[in-house]
Symmetry: C2
Subunit: 215 residues, 2 copies
């Protein structure tokens, strides 16, 4: 098998298709993307898509799998680091996710849409993530609450709030930019600012003692 000894510098056809498919699927979703769109975007013959990936659906699942891993990779790593404390974990997580989404702004909406339409399609993968509730991070948080460092707060709220503050500005960027009347450049500056501000906000929320106050 003399396999692509030629194109070592250039992208291989397989790569070109995957890159084009990832771009389009991530931006528009499975149903809105036609195989001919992918072929055109990749600059390849339509039949090559099936030659390399069998079907549109198989290609989509491949892209989805990779995107999903990219999405959750950071969590599993950071959440179980024994050598960092709560504050450090929050800072690292916020920074790495803001960097990731700055590079792939369509990624969050893509994953969350897919997860919403097919909640069970990734339950096996999510099991790896489910470990979150038993992660070092969550244990550290619970410990801190037990010791009175922070008031009580359900893990749901803590994780929801953290993810909210990180993810939403990417999902809602067109709306936020219109509403607040800022340029793309200003938007990107705001996003960068949030790397430092979100950890401060999270701590402020943790300390707010909201649970006692609502009773």
């Amino acid at each position: 098998m003399a396999k692509q000894l030629k194109k070592k510098i250039d992208q291989t056809t397989e790569e070109k298709i995957k890159i084009a498919a990832r771009k389009l699927f991530t931006r528009k979703g499975f149903a809105a993307v036609k195989t001919r769109d992918i072929a055109e975007e990749a600059g390849i013959n339509l039949a090559l898509l099936n030659y390399y990936f069998r079907s549109k659906e198989k290609l989509f699942k491949l892209i989805m799998e990779e995107s999903f891993l990219q999405f959750v990779k950071g969590i599993a790593e950071q959440f179980n680091d024994e050598n960092t404390n709560i504050d450090e974990k929050i800072e690292k997580l916020v920074e790495s996710y803001i960097d990731l989404f700055s590079q792939y702004p369509d990624l969050p909406l893509f994953i969350l849409s897919e997860l919403r339409e097919h909640p069970d399609a990734f339950s096996s993968r999510l099991d790896a993530v489910t470990g979150i509730s038993r992660s070092v991070f969550v244990k550290q948080i619970r410990e801190a609450m037990k010791n009175g460092v922070y008031p009580e707060m359900h893990t749901f709220h803590f994780l929801a709030n953290m993810m909210s503050l990180i993810v939403f500005p990417f999902i809602g960027s067109p709306m936020l930019m219109k509403i607040t009347d800022i340029s793309v450049k200003q938007y990107q500056e705001m996003i960068q600012e949030r790397k430092k501000m979100i950890p401060i906000w999270i701590k402020a929320m943790l300390k707010s003692n909201a649970y006692k106050l609502i009773k």
Copy 2:
């Protein structure tokens, strides 16, 4: 023109189609929904869709328009109320949106996806919302910051944070439920809790003085 004097109790065919279309479009988006799906869901003959709404696209735009108005209606109203202070506005806004999204959980993702793919399709409608930056609410916030009640924070961050905390738990519900291992019932309780907690958190974030701390 003798127009439907019969079905005053029952849903009219037009309504049945709209209800079915809204349900499917909101859940799966334009491209993933087939006209035959809508017809089946509505329990009507396929041709009636075109008879009443001309085309799939016209029907979609109609649904989209209504959904969008539903989405932004609350903002315009609450934001320009001269008779409520900052705290009251936040409380009302949080409560009305959590109620809205509890009833229509797919609405936020639907709107935000559409806005992301076609940012200009609603710029005319958003202009009505753009008034937000000149709203009573934003003026009140800026005033409070000028008077030292709250430290400085860009409107972008304030609005982004508020919308984040409200909207994300709906967008990310499948993921959040899996990760935190809670039931649908528990999830709904958490969501209700947030009505009271989010205003507290927002105030805590406002007071956190994050801008000074990051310098």
